[in-house]
């Protein structure tokens, strides 16, 4: 088994430099701008559904058409939103985050963050959220 040595080629300072670079701050911001609110949204919507099923079964038993009731429709709506969020996430990643991470990876492979690291060490913490 050979130890992949590419990772060793980057110094800790280079990682720090990359972490403090404006494009990385932007990358993280874009990632979080989608992932965090969306996680909150689908989690809340799922909890609402579970709580309605548990504490409002009569409401969920309301017939909409034939034998199909509100509970079943809301359940199927969970499937629909899951598929929709999956699609939105992929679109967001392709458009908003992949271009930055691809470019940064390219630059890291060419050691373009080597000098930036030393200069920005004192500002570390700026990217912390």
């Amino acid at each position: 088994m050979s130890e992949p040595n590419e990772r060793r080629l980057l110094t800790p300072e280079e990682y720090l430099g990359a972490q403090n670079s404006p494009e990385f701050v932007d990358l993280k911001k874009r990632f979080r701008a989608f992932a965090f609110p969306m996680t909150f949204a689908f989690f809340a919507w799922y909890l609402l559904y579970v709580l309605l099923s548990t504490y409002a079964p009569d409401l969920m038993a309301t017939r909409v058409f034939g034998n199909v009731n509100l509970g079943l429709l809301l359940g199927l709506a969970q499937f629909v939103t899951t598929f929709a969020i999956t699609h939105l996430y992929v679109a967001h990643a392709n458009r908003r985050t992949d271009p930055i991470s691809d470019e940064m990876r390219e630059r890291l492979e060419h050691h373009e963050y080597r000098t930036a690291g030393a200069a920005t060490t004192d500002t570390e913490g700026a990217t912390r959220v």
């Binding site: 990359a18 038993a61 990876r105």
Partner: protein, 547 residues
Amino acid sequence: MSDLLAAESATIGEPLINISIFGCFVLITLVITFRASRSNKSAADYYAAGRNISGTQNGLAIAGDYLSAASFLGITGAIAVYGYDGFLYSIGFLVAWLVALLLVAELMRNTARYTMADVLAFRMRQRPVRMAAAISTLVISLFYLLAQMAGAGGLVTLLLGVTGEAAQAVVVTTVGALMIFYVLVGGMRGTTYVQIIKATLLIFGAFVMTVWVLGKYGFNLSALLGGAQENAVEGRNVLAPGAQYGATDTSKLDFVSLGLALVLGTAGLPHVLMRFYTVPTAKDARRSVVWAIWLIGIFYLFSLVIGYGAGALVGPETILGAPGAVNAAAPLLAFELGGTVLLGIIAGVAFATILAVVAGLTITASASFAHDVYASVIKKGQVTGSGEVHVARITAVVIGAVSIGLGILALQAGINIAFLVALAFAVAASANLPTILYTLFWNKFTTQGALWSIYGGLIACVGLILFSPVVSGAPVNPVTGKSPSLIQDVDFAWFPLNNPGLVSIPLSFFLGWLGTKLSKERPDELKNAELEVRAFTGIGAEKAVAH
């Protein structure tokens, strides 16, 4: 006719047909496993299939791993008997994938080598965190294995015409031995192919049954629901929630607890996480989760129809009266629809399902022991890749033997498999998920926080299960004359909920935070930077092995 079946014999269909269809599956997968083994050379091959499984293939394999006997037998059975409440399982199991997709899959793929602990221990003190992660991996895998083996036990009784404890034990041993063989010879690559074949068969089989059931009701969902309601247990509304969990305030709370464990468990399941390491890049990890979400979602829609179909066409009394109880719904429906041949096919698929999932669990648990405990903690990293794989293989045999033992014990238990799997989810959500999220998104997280969160979540979760009605003290069921608890005739339960997620998951998040706040350890800034940059850009990520 259904009553006659249940009364006359314990088995349905033609055991010979069932066995031969299952035998075909075993034969085909064995050949493929042998072929796959030829390119198994390094640790990366054994643990991660050389990282050159494509995103689409991995999506199928994830579906194969995830759609366990719990999904196929457990959920359809729960829908057939309790109706709507069974449906809620599948929704939790599906929505959970969004946590994996949005927060975990790609970042983990970029930073891990073989196990979950690679990421969790990255910027912490290595040995204690690896040890903790390995222990929780082993506990979760054992819970999951217990569920799968319980499923195998029920299925064997029902389908192969095997009665008598000794004979059943022989069958479970055979299944276990086969599984060990797949893992030893094929490694992750062989296991992956087994899962791909199984997922294809399972989804196709479910599709056929769905169309068949709907066809019987003129493709009218409302008519099918009406049929299920007509046949339901007296006074039970199977179309609305509450049939299983609506009885008391405690059972309602139990249901919320279950819902929480399901949605947060998936992204903490070690055998699911390990599948992300088999693909070449983070983009492939994303692609594989997208495939998995579609396949799993569509399968659960099928299972809704199959479940109500079983309720309508077979009837809950017959299902509960059959060996394997709730878990027998799908096979009984297959027999009702297509006679012995369809039953044989579905039975073969169900066996394949158990075999593939158990193989996936075994390889994960063995990788975790060999890579985290043996190589890092015991040998302090002074071990070659082949030495590590050797230990992983030995571990796989040990775990296989343990799961055979558990399977034999689980034969008598008539517990719903989906329910047992839900407990594994609760452990995963309590012990693993908080630490994973803190590690990926909180720079100040420390070793102490990780240890408190993993051990705290694990101990709280398992401890609460131990003192819950699952293990002792559940009221005796008047129909069977037995208590649904694992241990009869004693009562040391003081925790009222069957699923501990509602308590143990928030507790674990809290302990992770508290442990970090109270620790004197300063976060390693350089390691933090490396982990974060690697996670988001994929620089330095493990590459595919070229052959």
